[in-house]
């Protein structure tokens, strides 16, 4: 979340990928850094270590959402 916000502050379109377990922390970080509406997309938890097949499935499920968020943030 913090990385996404830091990139956005540099004017680079960005979207943070946040797993559901860390969603509340993402909200906290976005609030504390003054960008409560910073673009973010929720992933299932966990993703790390779940294997290539699952990661591909997760990526397919959120790809359109990520693109939409990037397009919105670059407007």
């Amino acid at each position: 979340m913090r990385d996404g916000i830091n990139l956005a502050k540099l004017g680079i379109p960005s979207v943070a990928l946040v797993t559901e377990e860390f969603w509340a922390q993402g909200n906290f970080v976005a609030e504390s850094l003054g960008m409560p509406g910073a673009p973010r997309v929720q992933l299932p938890h966990p993703v790390a270590g779940t294997g290539a097949e699952n990661m591909t499935t997760v990526a397919d499920s959120v790809a359109q959402e990520i693109l939409a968020a990037l397009e919105a943030s670059s407007d």
Binding site: Q25, F28, V29, S32
Partner: protein, 356 residues
Amino acid sequence: MTNTLSARDEEAALEELHRLRCTDGLPVVIPTAERVNRMVLASGLEADMMLGTMGPGHGIATVEKVAIAAVMAGCLPDYMPVVIAAVKAVIDPDFDLTEMQATTHCTAPLIIVNGPARHTCGPIASGTGALGPGHRANATIGRALRLTMINIGKARPGSSDMALLGHPGKFTFCLAEDEESSPFTPLHVSRGFDAGDSVVTVLGSEAPHSVIYAGDGDDPNSYKSLLELLAMGLANPPSNNGTLTGGCATVVLNPEHSAILHGAGLTREDIAQELYQRSFVEASIVKRLFSQFAGPDPQDRMAFKGPEQILILQAGGSGVYSMVMPSWCVGAHANSAVSVKVEADMFCEIPGLSGD
């Protein structure tokens, strides 16, 4: 002036502080204006003096807010200069407080106190059971720092403090070096301070891991066995140091183990160098257990980037146990240790008020 809450009595105030998640889960001393003012007065500093901001919530740490934490923790006013120095240490950008508070690792700030403040701002225990219960200064100074991290830094479990389990040192984690019985130069002197300075050194740390060694007076190479065992504890393969390399870690030598190493002619710097060279994860283990990091031709993986990353001090009672504390070792500054001089000159002793 900090906003104040009101309650019908101290019992109700305590419940309100728990409800607001302003405590560490244990009862606190209610930070009434009178108690906080006394703590501020003892610091000799202005109440609204800003020490810096504390992440991840980016709250501003004023002397008054730190005093509130010190009151809540149960500190005596005498302890304030050490609490202030500890807060300054974690605020230092090299400490990476924001990242440290938010990580899923269990890391907690270990406070090591050197110099005269061990006595004038305490006593801060350095001997038997120094990291255990029963030592008021140790218990409440560490707790005060934690309460600043909760209430100024806004680290709360599950939403901004993401430690998956944590460890008990997240309640309090403070000790002094036993300079009087140590054969080595004090830790703070090795970090560039004068022996007469009082210094707080803070670093993120795992819980202590025990290292048992009985020594062998008939074996002139006994010290090498001790060094190897300490290094094995530091380079514990599943620790972050063993897995990721780098990040300051701590070795707390008991008096016997200090004597063994000193008897072999080793200085503090020699010990750090010897431990650095011995602290690695063997290539065969890297290959077998860490295939995702290993690459096609795994080598021995060092646990540290240099001997200066291994902090050594003497503390604890006599016996066969020393302690090693691996660390988180992540963040922009890779778990740096930060040392801050205790400014006790400003301290204002208040006759008749201390401890009331």
